[in-house]
Every structure is written in C-alpha cells, then in structure tokens.
C-alpha cells in the first residue's frame, strides 16, 4: 500500500452529473478529484497519484476515447471506467480493447459504480506494487559491474563456472567470486531465483 489514499478522478462536462457522482463516491468514502474537461484533466491531474479514472465518453473537443489514447501514450497506469449516456457495442469494445476496466451506462447504480471503482483501485495498486518491485530490482541490477553483468548472462544461460571462465578467459575461482557478489547484490539465494528475476528484468529474452 502506498502511503497516500487512492484518488478517484472524475471527468464529465456536465456539471450536475460531475457533482452528483463525486458526492456519491465521497459518501462511499473515496477521495475524489473533479475535472470538467479532458484537457483540464491532462493539465492538472497528479500523474503519480494512485486510484482510477471515471470518464465520460461524449465530451466536446476531446472525448473520453481520445483521452484514453493520450493517456496510453503517456504510459499512464490509471485504470479507466467509462460512463456513457448512449454507449454502443463497437464503442465499448474499442474502449475495453484499449484497456478500460469497465464501461457503465448512465444513470449508473451506486453499487455497480462503487464495485467497479474498487476493482479498478485494487488492480491499480497491484500494478503499482509490481512496478515498484521491478524498479527496486532494476536499481539492484544497476549496481552490478560490467564483469558481473557478463557473468550473470552466462549463469542464467545455464553455463557451468568452468565454461564461463573459459569463455571469459579467466580462472574458475574468479568466476565464483563474481557470482557470489552478484547474487548478494541482487539479494537472491538460489540459481532458480536468479533466473526468475533475470526473466523479469528482461535479461533472458534479450539473450535469445
């Protein structure tokens, strides 16, 4: 869990709907942030905040689907719940394909909306957690020396110390020392664990 409470971002050009949805979510204990246009959201929202986005589809200038595309190019992880007055199937398929977590029609029932938001927030938190773990790994990986990098790539490729020493033109003992160092730096106990994090960091696939 991050320290700050997740925020539900609401974007709708209809002031009374915006206000009512926000009020409903506050009554359910969510923290809300209100935006009356897609542009305002892009300009003002805290991109580091966790939570989810409740987005109206039909809006002037930039509609909900256009905002979704822009957020995708910005690698935003914010899950999107679409709210629409007259959503048709092609539109919802398009939105879901692009990663929307839900597509609800107005007027929306409170339990449906709240459930969708809870799911979205949960998935956002899981994603954020995974990302923070990955970045921690990347930080550890960055501490390896170039020689340790070389040794690691050979180790996860399944080579024995003797083979690695031969390949790198050194003695087996040196390799053993490097191997111990890199395992300590990456905080892994076993070869299996080493392979797993290498996979996650994309080292194995880069060898292919």
């Amino acid at each position: 869990m991050t320290a700050s409470m997740p925020t539900v971002f609401i974007v709708d050009d209809d002031a009374s709907v915006l206000k009512a949805v926000a009020r409903l979510l506050r009554s359910a204990g969510f923290k809300t942030a209100l935006f009356s246009s897609a542009q305002q959201f892009l300009d003002e929202h805290d991109s580091n905040a966790s939570g989810c986005l409740v987005l109206d589809v039909a809006m002037p200038k930039m509609n909900g689907l256009a905002l979704q595309q822009i957020l995708a190019t910005q690698n935003s992880e914010l899950p999107i719940i679409f709210l629409t007055g007259h959503g048709d199937i092609p539109m919802s398929v398009q939105a879901i394909k692009r990663g929307a977590v839900d597509f609800l029609t107005k007027p929306v029932n409170d339990s449906d909306l709240i459930l969708a938001i809870q799911n979205a927030i949960n998935s956002n938190q899981i994603a954020r957690l995974a990302r923070s773990k990955l970045s921690e790994l990347q930080q550890r990986f960055a501490t390896l020396t170039p020689r340790e990098h070389e040794v690691l790539s050979h180790v996860v490729a399944g080579k024995k110390n003797k083979q690695i020493a031969l390949n790198l033109g050194t003695v087996e003992k040196t390799i053993k020392v490097h191997r111990a160092h890199l395992m300590a730096k990456l905080k892994v106990q076993s070869l299996a664990e080493l392979v797993k994090i290498s996979e996650r960091l994309g080292i194995i696939s880069s060898l292919d």
């Binding site: 709907v17 206000k19 009020r23 506050r26 009554s27 039909a58 107005k106 929306v108 409170d110």
Partner: protein, 493 residues
Amino acid sequence: MNWITIVWPMMAASILTLALLHLIVWCKQRQQVAHLFFAIAALGVAMISGMELVAMRSVSINEVALLMRWLHLPMLVIWIAIICYVRYYFHAGRLWLAWTACCLRVFALILSFTTGQNLFFSEITYLKQVVVFGETINIAQGILNPWYIVGFMSMLALVAFVVDASITLWHQGSDTARRRAVIFGCIAFFLLASIGHAALVNAGLLNSPYLISISFMPTLFAMSYELSYDVVHSAKLAEKLQISMTKRKQAELDMQTQRNALTHLSRVTLLGELSGSLAHELNQPLAAILSNAQAAQRFLAQENINLDEVRDILQDIVDDDKRAADIIQRLRLILKKANLELRPLNINDVVLDVLKLVRRDLRHRSVIVNSDLSHNIPVVTGDKVLLQQVLLNLIMNACDAASIEQRQIYIHTQWNGTEAQVAVSDKGTGIASDDIERIFEPFFTTKPQGMGLGLAICRTIIHAHKGQLWATNNANIGTSFYFTLPAYSGETV
C-alpha cells in the same frame, strides 16, 4: 277610361321598369355594357310612347307639330342603343351599315328641325279625329315633308344592319347564335312594319293611333329576353361554380390537414434523427438525480449525518428534475404542434434555443457552430416552435453537408431594414446549380435515407410567416440557406 289611356302609360311604365332593372344590373356589373344599351333604348321607346299619347290627345296643331319634331331625338337614341347592343353583345353586324344608319338618323333629326314643321310634314293642315276602341283621338294630316325619305332610309339601314347581324349569327351555327338570329330576323320585320304603318297613317290612308312605340316593344322584349337568358345562365354557372368552389374548399382543407400531418411527420422524423442526442440530454439529469439520491441514502446511513450535505443534494435533485421536465416539455411542444401561432419574438432567442437543443448532437458529430447574432434586430412575428423546426432542419442539413476537413457551420442573423434575415452556412461541397431550387420541392432529396420533405416543409412554414426561404452556393465553398421574417406588426393569431 279607355284603352288608349290605359295601354300607352302601361306600356311606358313596363318599359321603364325593364330599363330600370337592366340599369341596376349594369351598375352592379359595369363590364356588361349591353344592359346599359338596352336601358337607353328602352328609355327612348318610353319617351316615344309618352309623346304619342300626348300627340293623340292634343287639340293644338302646333303642339302636335312640335312633338313630331322632337320625336326624332329619342329615335336617334334608340338607333344608337340598338346598334351598340348588337355590336357589343353579339359581336355581329357590319360597321359601315351601323354608321350609315346612325348618320342617316342624325341627318333626319337635323332635317326635322330645319325643314317644314317636322320631318313628317311640311305643314300640318288639320287634326283628323278618329275613333279607335270607342275613343276619339287626333291624327295630324297635312302636306308630307319630302325629306321624310331620309328617316325611311335610316330605318332601312337599321333593318339591313340587324338582318346582316342575324345572318352572321346564323352562320355561327351554335344553338344560341341561331336562336338569336331568328329573334332578330323577326325584329327586322317589326321595324319594317312600323315604318310602313307610320307612312300609311301620316298619308291619311289608315285611321290608327301612332304605333311606333308599340312596334318597338317586340324589339325590346327580344333584347331583354336575350339579356335575361344571360342572367339566368350566369346564375346557373354561379351555382355550378359554388358547388365546385365548395369542393375546392374542401380539397384545400384536406390539403391543409395533409400538410399539417406532413409537417408533423417531418418533425417526428427530425426528432427521430435527434433522438440519440435528446436521449442523452434527458439521461444527464436522470443520471445526476440517481447518483445524488443514492449519495443521500448513504449519507443518511452514516452515524454523523451531515444535514447540510443532504440539503444540498435535495436541492440539486430538484434542479435536475426540472431540467429533465424542461426537455420533455420542449419535446412535447414540438410533437404536438398543430397550427401556426404567431407571436412577437426575438429571433436570436430562437437560434440560441435550437443550438441548446442540438448541442449534444453537434458535439457528437464534431461540428463547431460559429454564430454571429446581431443585437439590432427588432421583434419579429413568428411561431417559435415552427421556426425552431426550420432552424433545426437547416442546421442538421448543414451538419450533413459539412465536409470532413471543414466541420464548421455558421449562423448569422441581421436586420436588413425591413426584415430579419437568418443565414445558415456550411463549408460542404455545395449544391448543383440545377438543384438549388429543386431542393425545396417535396420528395426531392440527395440523402440516401432522406424523405425529401424537410426543406419543402421549411419553405411552407416560412411562407406562412410571410417570409422567404432560399439557398445560394457560397462564392468560395459550401452553401448558405437564408430565410427572412417581417417585423412584428402587432398582429397575433
């Protein structure tokens, strides 16, 4: 009392009555000059009849001579009237014969005043007492005026004119023409008889009262019969016309009903096209109401109830409910509309109302509206809902016409000095010049799903407002539709 004192005044009276009747007809229908000519001829005969009566009862030779002199004035009047009647009513008779008869008659009148005591006598020597029907009357006798031949000739010319006209009519061949030909052929006989009779009386060969007026009577009756035949005929025609008018009125009424139904249908179609955006429009307040109400339920379920929040929520629910009701009211007005209700209104308000109505739809279609509304437009006369319909139609058409690159439409209002003018322009591909007027015809359409009624009905609506609706292709790109509305004149329907 005796026959003569009864018959002559009665004759004069009946002739005068006829004259009066036809004079009245002419007064009512000035283009029917035949009635006027008949009235003049009848007046002439009535005068002659009066003169004859006085002459027959007179004991003074001078008085009789004077009467016989003046007798030629009504004669001239009768000549001219009969000739005009035949010429104008039957369009027959040779003009030179007519002129001859008239000129001879004028000549006769002049001679009557210049030669002898009158045209009949150079000198009246005595008054012969004759007993007719048991009454004694006086008949002038004396030396006959040789110039009398002129009067005789003029009578022959008139007879020739009438006979000629009758022959022409006979050759026309129609039943009416032939009936007229026969009647006027008989008239010629009576005219001839009257000349012969007068000559015989004056020559002292016949003991008879003067019968000039009586011999003209059949002529008058024939003329009157023809005219009345015409009056009866026109009355019949009028009756037929009235029946067909009633039918036509009914047809017009039916057409109006149909047109109203069509207007209504097109409005419904238009609403169908708009239904998506209207549904959305209605959905917004409903969505807000639901969320607000459910939020209120949740707040009320909490331990520390925030009453201020709940109060705000209830106020918002009330507002949104009114907003939804407004939309429904607008819809109902458009759907229920039946007749034209002209009221003073501000055309800019109508434009803004419509833009509010189509806001969603335009947004959905990514169309941008640029409006330039003049604030110097006086109040105009119009039916708000129907004008909204016209604008709605023009705006939706402009949206359909807008090209992919130029998704802009322009709405412009201005006052041109006498009328308010509204323009709706697009930047589409324009309209083929052959079609620019045809687009207003019913069932003409360029859209695959169009009924082709929108613009036809728009034009009907604007015409009902005494305005104009037309289209022109813009100089550079796209089309502009214009309509005008007259200023408010204090008239409401």
